[in-house]
């Protein structure tokens, strides 16, 4: 079956511009996560959505970052007024249950964002 897909795969933008990153989770997965990964580093949690509950936004680095999930499926991560330090790979993952230690997160291939 289809895995998690993300688009675009690469995005180059100029400092100060807004960008939107899209994530299509695995069908039926109730939980969706966004992470940020700097080159060769671990993943930094940004936000997650679980069903109809309020999202956990505790990992968003600033108010320039926001995300929404429409209809419990597709999610969009928006970065406003991009800065050079926003350059990273943005990864999306989905799972059947909220990760409480036993869930399996399935990751997309990521969107590589470069801010010039």
């Amino acid at each position: 079956g289809a895995g998690v897909s993300q688009s675009p795969s690469n995005k180059v933008t100029e400092k100060g511009k807004d960008v939107e990153l899209r994530c299509d989770p695995i069908s039926g997965h109730t939980a969706l996560y966004w992470y940020r990964q700097s080159l060769g580093q671990g993943l930094e949690f940004l936000i997650y959505f679980q069903g109809n509950s309020a999202p956990d936004k505790s990992g968003l680095p600033s108010d320039r970052f926001s995300a929404e999930r429409t209809g419990g499926s597709v999610s969009t991560l928006t970065i406003q007024r991009t800065q050079q330090e926003d350059s990273a790979v943005y990864l999306c993952a989905s799972s059947l249950v909220l990760t409480g230690g036993l869930g399996t997160q399935y990751f997309g291939p990521g969107t590589r964002l470069t801010v010039l």
Partner: protein, 111 residues
Amino acid sequence: TQLLEQSPQFLSIQEGENLTVYCNSSSVFSSLQWYRQEPGEGPVLLVTVVTGGEVKKLKRLTFQFGDARKDSSLHITAAQPGDTGLYLCAGVVGSARQLTFGSGTQLTVLP
């Protein structure tokens, strides 16, 4: 300060050698996972450990969760070039609803 420290950060070995990667923390984890990530792809789950002292084997890979659930190790026997990748540990602290990832170990196995 990184909640999960991985070591070594980089490891380059010859095919056939054994290696161990470590994941350490001062926090207690209710569960811990290991992932492998290849260039241009997202991480792929290898294993989940939940019980202190637990040992799990996946072919040539052996995973151990520390008795106090603060650390974990990944041992690879007779490494092969196909094992090359970024190995990441990730844990859940208490009842937290998110994974905390380590900084990763970049493994290169030379033929």
